[in-house]
Amino acid sequence: MIPAAFDYVAPTTLDEALASLSAHRDDVKILAGGQSLLPVLRMRLNEPGLLIDLGRIESLRGIRDDGDALVIGAMTTHHDVSASALVQEHALLISEAMTHLADPQVRHRGTFGGALSHADPAGDLCAPALALGATFVIASAGGSRTVDAGSFFTGLFETAIGEDEILAEVRIPKHTDWGARYEKFVQIAYQWSIVGVAATVQVEGGLFAAARVGLTNMGIVPLRAEATESSLVGQPATAETIAAAAALAADGTNPPSDLNGDADYRRHLARVLTGRALRAASGVA
């Protein structure tokens, strides 16, 4: 399968990329790592006139410590994020999710910002980014603006990124010393999540001081299991507390029904996986 013909530019600065984008905004696709976009083009689900490749823009790569947050450049590969000691220390939930994301070859090419911009409801990074309260730095020719994770994912494969904008970096508030686990349910190797649960918790003196739980593929956008989160806080970190909280994990969700399972099955999975993820994240047997 070969994509339809397109023109191609590979600018070396973000400003050049933004200038190309505003000149061709109606008929352009941004190429990050290409691990989702190229299959789409090859199946001819999309036939852009111009591809703007961000792969030569060095300033969009890398991970830096910025006080109370980590800043991950949009073009940083999944492999580099998963190998990062900074991410391991301050955003363990991201490292956890990375071990479940696609396969090694795809992680070498695919990018952190690309996967989040693609906003696949079954993608494994959106729920962790939401759970950690990430903020998205979105650039345009006029400057840049930041969008909270809660407002970033707007629909099925849709985000708050405008037609003349490019995601430049993602800020992840540090969650140092928080336990974390990503539980992904699939039936075969190399499959999109049927359901995924991203849990990160802070346990102090045997009590849950804070808890964040994100859900993958339980709606058209990633969701927080807010009832679960609030039922944990202030309670003892025990199997009983977790079981009661996990029972609430599917509240307020609207999961799809498809060949992998109907909505009720997904709600069941969300509750079971939330229990497993919280027990692992908090070290409760």
Partner: protein, 165 residues
Amino acid sequence: MTSIRLIVDGRQVADEVEPRTLLVQYLREQLGKTGTVIGCDTSNCGACTVHLNGRSVKSCNVLAVQADGGEVTTIQGLAPAGELHPVQEAFREWHGLQCGYCTPGMIMQAVDLLNENPSPSEEAVRAGLEGNLCRCTGYHNIVAAVRHASELMANRQPVGSGADA
């Protein structure tokens, strides 16, 4: 058409390609590197795995223009002519193939895995080959071959070198 220059299996090449040309197409159709095969054509199976700038990639899911300025190693460039890379040798010795179609990709991914982790457990081998499918389901001997290759490479290289043989 777009001009590209890259190093493929140690040789400098320069060509004009359409931007939509996939790296695997360029390797096979313009350079004759038919050792790299197309399996599923949907970026699932990993049969087309090559190394781009030292890391494994699925060459059906990379544009040739994205590889401009880079260095590509295919199964044909893994060892000098007439010799076998230890991973190739181990696949032969342990019968790590049945029909052989997935083998070029399996070997290229196994080399990448061993570069990163020179003595992987069975579980680590299986996780490292997650993106490579064997349509004969011959995984048992493939995993055994990769673990054998790790021993071969450890015996031939100073401990801790871990680099490309």
